[in-house]
Symmetry: none
Subunit: 194 residues, 4 copies
């Protein structure tokens, strides 16, 4: 195929990103050296720079990739016109699925504080999904299904509850089973329902 090169190139990129997320999830951005990533990927340090301008560009590409994937996963056929309870259910289970299947990606996205190195584009990815969530919540408020509080507050509570659950699970303090996830979901729903 004529696009073998392109494919190889994409493979390398993906390989580096995969290595990076292992390191970043485990140690965070600042404790991860470019050498760590190259070693994890089984390649030389210099090669990373053929694919990413620098460490910051790499972490931003990584953020955008996974935040984008998570967003897409959550929003795919999202039950926009269904009752809020069902939206919360879909949201929660999809987040939980993602956290279970891609624990490192989720850890990277939610466990660490990114403010240091995220660029405007990465921040925009986050902003976009928050805006979307706001609109859903406002619609639900209009239908009287959820509390008439600032939508951003409800998002904060929902998101915070989810992340709180995950953190305790990561710390080994909470066993994360379908049952506990469902219980947490119920909590989250009751937190915001009218």
């Amino acid at each position: 195929m004529s696009n073998t090169l392109k494919d190889n190139s994409q493979d390398r990129r993906a390989q580096i990103l995969d290595a990076a997320i292992v390191c970043f999830a485990k140690q965070g951005f600042h404790l991860t050296s470019m050498h760590d990533i190259s070693a994890q990927a089984g390649i030389s340090v210099g090669l990373i720079y053929r694919y990413f301008e620098n460490k910051e560009a790499l972490v931003n590409a990584l953020y955008q990739k996974h935040k984008g994937a998570l967003t897409a996963l959550v929003l795919k056929d999202f039950p926009v016109d269904k009752p809020a309870r069902q939206m919360v259910h879909v949201l929660w289970t999809r987040l939980a699925d993602y956290a279970r299947e891609q624990p490192r990606a989720f850890a990277f996205l939610e466990l660490h504080h990114h403010a240091d190195y995220l660029d405007a584009q990465s921040q925009a990815v986050e902003t976009r999904i928050v805006d979307l969530a706001c609109r859903f919540l406002q619609a639900a408020q209009a239908r009287g299904e959820v509390k008439p509080y600032p939508p951003m507050l409800l998002i904060a509570v929902l998101h915070g509850a989810f992340v709180g659950m995950l953190r305790k699970a990561w710390e080994g303090l909470l066993e994360l089973t379908p049952e506990t996830s469902a219980q947490a979901e119920q909590c989250a729903w009751e937190a915001i329902r009218a």
Copy 2:
């Protein structure tokens, strides 16, 4: 008096810790250099090492100091035998007061990910308060006031909701007023109530 030395010593320690929290809250652990802290404190770098073994010991001392202070503040005359709703109210308002009055301490404690450098003792401080909270919740569960879910899950949701609220406020996406705080508290309560 021999006490003068001790006092001066304590003053110095406090002075360094105060400088450190300014830096850590603003830039995080890894982006803060010992020189940053010494400059903020108006002393020399070397002097910090008379009071703290190394950077890690300093950050642990800082963590324990503020986590301890927060714990003490929250638990002071805590309405142990009152209804859960009231306990949540006291908890929430005390946390909110602390976050408002000691924004840097709260940012340091909750904004950053500490797993890298916290030692066993620091983790124990956290463990202690979580255990306490568990007991309160179990009592409330026994009284049928809160959901019969794993107490750790309820704690995760409560804590997560509070931190979520604060994060959005820090990001400038949410105005944190007594009213919004009260609304969030109501959410949190309904999240866990039976």
Copy 3:
């Protein structure tokens, strides 16, 4: 014909050398990367190594090529048996023509300091022309036309004056016109004439 290969080969060499001189004249040896040269030539990096052992061999080939070309140009039908004034005139105008027509080659040859990387052969090229000039000057001295100083000194003054003029022109401090060049030539002549 087997010549086609040879010719292509020579073309490639020339193509690379042409690209190299653009880069070296602009940025100097150390700031020019092999990738810069390959990009300028529109070929791949690896290909350069089919024609030149390494970067140093390339710069030496380049030096010898242009120093040789300049030498040939200056010496072509040089008025060996004419009065020194006329020799200086021919020398000066040919140097000036070359500097005008091949500004990059001249910049490369005279603007930068080559001592770092020039090999024996490159230095020999320079030596050869200097020796030649010495002989001309000694003949002129024998005729009493130029000062009876060490010929090398007179060469140094002549060459230095020319390069000095060019440098100021490169720096934009001096407009280089036929008139100013002629004036400088007159200076140079009077510098060495008996």
Copy 4:
């Protein structure tokens, strides 16, 4: 003394600058690593950065120091109102003295091409002395002592002749004695005299 610290600091700076000029004169800017300089100075690499922001700041400080010293040396009690021949004599002998006594400084200043890294201030140092020389020459032209050519051209020829002489001496092609220097001076004078 209360300024022991200041003095030590100045000593260190001077020590680093001294080491730097040895390296830069020998190898040029790009071939000299910060480690080379630290080794030459007998100190650690990191220490250089306490005294100079970075390599570029170091080379600029060095340039300004020596260009400034040379300028001061040349201009000290310069025979401004004396005949041009005498001015050329003073100029030439002082340059020659400096080149003999501070060969490395002179090599650094004149042998290498600085355009890459010199900052505005360093360039201003050079500009200032050239402007001054222009004024002297214009005055001499007004008195009919030197050729009525663009002053910058005369400067180029004078300066070029001197540097040309020095280069040949560095290359070992010319023995630089008081006599040859005087001869070159005579050449230089006749180059520009009316």
